[in-house]
Amino acid sequence: MADFDQELDASGLNCPLPILRAKKALNGMESGQILRIIATDPGSVKDFEAFAKQTGNNLIESGEENGKYTFLLKKK
């Protein structure tokens, strides 16, 4: 697993909260830093792809394990 600078547990939260919390976390981070997000909302898989595409933050990794989705976002 890749290193990350900050972690956000969005487990149990539904759309659009994982995205909103992630955005908030990124706001407090520096360019190039990596945010790891854990979510349980299945919709978050497509949503984080879309978020990355539209905001220019790089989605380095997207995975699923035991019903939990994890994402690594590198801040633009």
């Binding site: 149990g12 939260l13 539904n14 659009p16 995205i19 909103l20 349980t40």
Partner: protein
């Protein structure tokens, strides 16, 4: 600022279920970098009250999922709306769906501009003291000032 995309929403409904689309879309759009404005008119003004008392009803809405079939005439008895509202809120909480208050706060935090329709305020004799702070009051021309330059424009 000027290369930011813009989203304009008109919110016309004041029930608990219909409070969600404008606030979900506005908060998400802000997270995606959109400059966002919501124009609240008619029943949509209920979404701007300091004390939100939004209700949900199955009347006139045959698509609402019910835990058991309830004849329409029974859905109209006193207390049913209250019961459905509390059931809906409980369900939303259990599914991790944000409350309307929370989403609205997130919108305000993200500087979503909220405009209340002045005509509706006058029509229903609303007291502006009952509305949250940080909103503006305006009319149709005010809406078009922003909407005319928007990339996405929605009527909810």
């Amino acid at each position: 600022m000027s290369d930011e995309k813009k989203l304009a929403i008109i919110a016309t409904k004041g029930s608990l279920d219909w409070a969600y689309p404008p606030f979900i879309l506005a908060s998400t759009a802000s997270a995606l970098g959109y400059e966002t404005q919501i124009f609240f008119t008619f029943y949509g003004l209920a979404l701007l009250k300091k004390d939100l008392n939004l209700q949900v009803t199955s009347l006139g809405n045959p698509a609402m999922p019910m835990p058991m079939p309830v004849p329409v005439i029974m859905q109209a008895i006193p207390g049913m709306q209250y019961m459905m509202t509390s059931m809906m809120k409980k369900k939303m909480k259990s599914k991790g769906v944000a409350s309307v208050e929370e989403l609205r706060d997130l919108c305000l935090e993200a500087e979503v501009k909220m405009v209340a329709c002045q005509m509706t305020v006058d029509l229903f004799e609303f007291d502006t003291k009952d509305f949250i702070d940080g909103i503006e009051y305006g009319g149709a021309a005010t809406f078009f000032d922003f909407a005319g330059e928007s990339d996405v424009c929605l009527y909810v």
